[in-house]
């Protein structure tokens, strides 16, 4: 026993209660993650994080998933976070490690996903010297994160990490980045646990609204004759209880419910009050009901341009109640008659309480009107017996996976919209898609993260052949960790949404939207050590899908679909909710969109 150890032991014996553990910065990171309840992190090692990786080597409680690209780590962490409700954790190195992670960090910011991203940094004495693999990570990510911090002293590290988890997961969730120089990882300092740490900032988001506004909102809803609930990702973020509260309140009011892309699953799709998704490619009945409602109850959604269509014609006759945990969301795009700041679940519970034992108003004229819109069958498409229609492929995928423990992720584009239209969800946290940033390449790594969190579930990435190639390499991660994800590619050889817009808005000039040398996805799967399947006709589709489901390994499914199918219905750019184009009337859509609309995205 060395003198140092003897002294340390004596100190521990004499003052066991006040003993402060001294750990290296790297050990502090690992300990803090464990104390925060983290079980999994997604990362990629490099020079500036090697001390943390060394500390991980001795920590069996943390599972590390080695990705193939740092963007994959961030999307996997997002998939993990959204399917569990827990924060996703990312560990990457300095310089390119950090810059590669930026896309996923912004994706998480836009969609309010809690992430804690730990980046290595060059040693403090080299910061600012253009050292090898140095970049100004906190500068680059300042507008990409909810909060970020460069930790220059090991003494500040425990607080920085615990505070990062607090900030990432509370209020409007989002990504928090902690940049840790290598010398800070080596230095020794006292460790403070999550309960003992004192936060640096006066950050305290409001969860409940105890003003009279909740009661006013309930009175407005009670007096409505054409009410509608317009719900978003905020309900999902507020946890499963918020979805239950939404269901209870919607039932009490007897109002129809629609949702943004991000909010799918909060309200069950097989409920008769469900209208389907709202927005540009949303349900005909949902958009018309939004346009004609008299009271709109927006819960945890933010009036995104994909939802509202033409703003000055957006739901012109309605009073709007906007519930959001982020005060800046209220009144940002659309004026709220009653703005309520708070957690979606808490406020819905407050509303339920204020509603009390009231009976729902007689809304039968409103429901009669809605049934007429439903009868229009806005999602109808022309079937084919020779070619697989992409809508049909998703319909069959849904039908053949019903009753299973299914999680869906998507890439971005036409396939994403068809997935949202034709795959249906009964529960929250089952649908993972890149809504705000619209990141092609999100779905495959997200599926990796979901499968890590739910090893026995059926995890399917509904993909396009263009998107999936942006992060294709993560199939290698799935193979390494035996994660049996299913990558279901609706392969039409085009960047389909780009092609559709070029057809509609750019005189059918298909500028650089066709991939003329696609890989053989079956062989590609085999090269990675996964299983490749292909379906080219409607006849063989069901059997191949069942084969995919029954394969206990990662699968890439090359589903060859109709190449020129357009995603409909559609609110054309610059048009209102009640100006939707449906598949059976869409012949010359370019002429429907006016010049002002062509300038929009």
């Amino acid at each position: 026993m060395t003198a140092h150890q003897i002294i340390a032991e004596a100190t521990a014996q004499t003052a066991p209660d006040t003993a402060v553990e001294t750990l290296t910065g790297a050990e502090i990171v690992v300990r803090a993650l464990v104390d925060q309840g983290v079980d999994t992190l997604f990362g990629y090692p490099g020079g500036a994080v090697l001390p943390i990786y060394d500390a991980l080597f001795h920590e069996p409680r943390l599972k590390h998933i080695l990705v193939r690209h740092e963007q994959g780590a961030t999307h996997a962490a997002e998939g993990y976070a959204r399917s569990t409700g827990k924060p996703g954790v990312v560990l990457v190195t300095s310089g390119p490690g950090a810059t590669n992670a930026v896309t996923g960090i912004v994706d998480a910011l836009m969609d309010s996903i809690p992430l804690v991203v730990i980046t290595g940094q060059v040693p403090t004495h080299l910061i600012g010297s253009d050292a090898f693999q140095e970049c100004d990570t906190v500068g680059i990510t300042r507008s990409a994160t909810k909060h970020n911090v460069l930790v220059r002293r090991v003494e500040d590290l425990p607080r920085a990490i615990h505070e990062a988890f607090h900030i990432a997961t509370t209020g409007r969730p989002g990504p928090v980045l902690i940049d840790i120089p290598k010398d800070v990882q080596f230095a020794s300092g006292p460790y403070t646990g999550p309960d003992a740490v004192r936060f640096r900032h006066a950050y305290a988001p409001r969860l409940r609204d105890d003003s009279s506004r909740v009661r006013e909102a309930v009175e407005l809803i009670a007096g409505a004759r054409r009410p509608i609930f317009y719900t978003g990702g905020g309900v999902i973020n507020a946890g499963p209880q918020a979805s239950r509260s939404l269901r209870a309140f919607a039932r009490a009011v007897d109002a129809p419910v629609t949702s943004t892309l991000m909010g799918l699953g909060a309200f069950p799709s097989d409920d008769p009050q469900w209208l389907g998704m709202v927005g540009m490619h949303g349900a005909f009945e949902a958009n018309h009901a939004m346009h004609d409602c008299d009271v709109m109850v927006c819960v945890g959604a933010r009036f995104d341009d994909r939802v509202t269509g033409r703003l000055d014609a957006f739901s012109p006759g309605s009073k709007k109640i906007h519930i959001d945990i982020d005060p800046s969301s209220i009144g940002k795009i659309v004026r709220a008659d009653i703005g309520i700041i708070g957690d979606a679940g808490e406020v819905l519970d407050q509303m339920l309480e204020a509603w009390g034992g009231r009976r729902a108003a007689n809304l039968s004229p409103w429901w009669t009107q809605i049934d007429q819109w439903r009868a229009r069958k806005g999602f109808a498409y022309a079937p084919s017996s020779t070619v697989i229609k992409p809508q049909y492929a998703v319909e069959r995928l849904y039908a053949l996976t019903r009753g299973r423990d299914v999680y869906i992720s998507t890439e971005v584009g036409q396939h994403q919209m068809w997935a949202a239209q034709f795959f249906h969800f009964q529960e929250p946290n089952r649908w993972m898609t890149s809504g705000g940033l619209g990141t092609m390449g999100y779905g495959l790594p997200a599926a990796v993260g979901i499968q890590v969190a739910h090893p026995d579930a059926l995890v399917i990435d509904i993909a396009g052949e263009a998107s999936v190639q942006m992060t294709m390499q993560e199939i290698s991660t799935a193979v390494q960790y035996e994660l049996p994800i299913k990558v279901f590619i609706l392969n039409n050889e085009w960047m389909g949404m780009v092609r559709q817009w070029q057809q509609l808005l750019h005189g059918e000039r298909y500028s650089h939207s066709y991939s003329s040398s696609l890989p053989d996805f079956v062989k590609l799967a085999e090269a990675y050590g996964a299983v490749g399947l292909r379906a080219t006709t409607p006849d063989e589709l069901d059997a191949k899908i069942l084969q995919m489901i029954d394969t206990p390994r990662p699968v890439i499914f090359d589903c060859r679909v109709e190449k020129a199918e357009n995603c409909l219905p559609m609110i054309p750019s610059g048009k209102a909710h009640n100006d939707m184009i449906l598949a059976d009337m869409a012949r010359d859509m370019g002429s429907v969109i006016e010049d002002a609309g062509k300038g929009l995205v």
């Binding site: 900032h201 006759g317 009073k319 800046s328 209220i330 659309v334």
Partner: protein, 186 residues
């Protein structure tokens, strides 16, 4: 539909004050934790969201708790100003956002250093106007003065205008500071 709303039912998403109201000048005081990068976050927010900054001043004002006061003068419609306030409030290091100035409850001041070069009558006139504005000469040479002046921004604008024909060389201004009248702490 079963009923139609009257045209003035305030149902539209857009109230006049919100969408089409006039722009106005506003001064915000932002109390922030004094730590690296916080000014970048505030300035970055303005540039990323397309808000104006007419002037900005910052200094640590409470050393004991390491907080700084940032005073920002901006311009926008009511809806934009409300957004600026809400977006500033979201920054983790921001402790408080207050609109300061704009009416008689607030005192606004700015300090300017003004360099004027000239000889003869112009030199005499410079000193005369400086006296009217209670500007102090803080450096003098055979053919130039540096003048120090405090006042509301429009007073300094006026002084600049009067100095221009007399040989104005250069102006350095602090930007606006603002504080409430009376004994209360905001």
């Amino acid at each position: 539909m079963t009923e139609t709303l009257p045209a003035d039912s305030a149902g539209s998403a857009y109230f006049l004050d919100f969408e089409t109201g006039d722009e106005r000048r506003a001064t915000f005081a932002v109390i922030v934790d004094n730590e690296p990068g916080v000014l970048h976050r505030v300035v970055g927010l303005f540039s990323a969201r397309g808000y104006n900054i007419e002037s900005l001043t910052v200094a640590e004002t409470d050393r004991a708790v390491h907080t700084s006061r940032i005073t920002i003068v901006t311009r926008g419609r009511e809806g934009v100003l409300a957004q600026i306030r809400a977006q500033l409030g979201k920054i983790v290091q921001v402790r408080a956002v207050m609109e300061v100035g704009g009416d008689a409850r607030w005192v606004e001041r700015e300090l300017a250093l003004v360099k004027v070069r000239g000889t003869g009558d112009a030199r005499v006139e410079t000193l005369r106007i400086a006296e009217i504005f209670r500007a102090r000469v803080i450096d003098t040479d055979v053919d130039s003065f540096v003048l120090e002046l405090t006042g509301a921004p429009d007073k300094i604008d006026k002084f600049e205008m009067l100095m221009r024909p007399l040989g104005l060389v250069e102006v350095s201004r602090t930007g606006v500071l603002s504080i409430a009248r009376g004994g209360e702490r905001v």
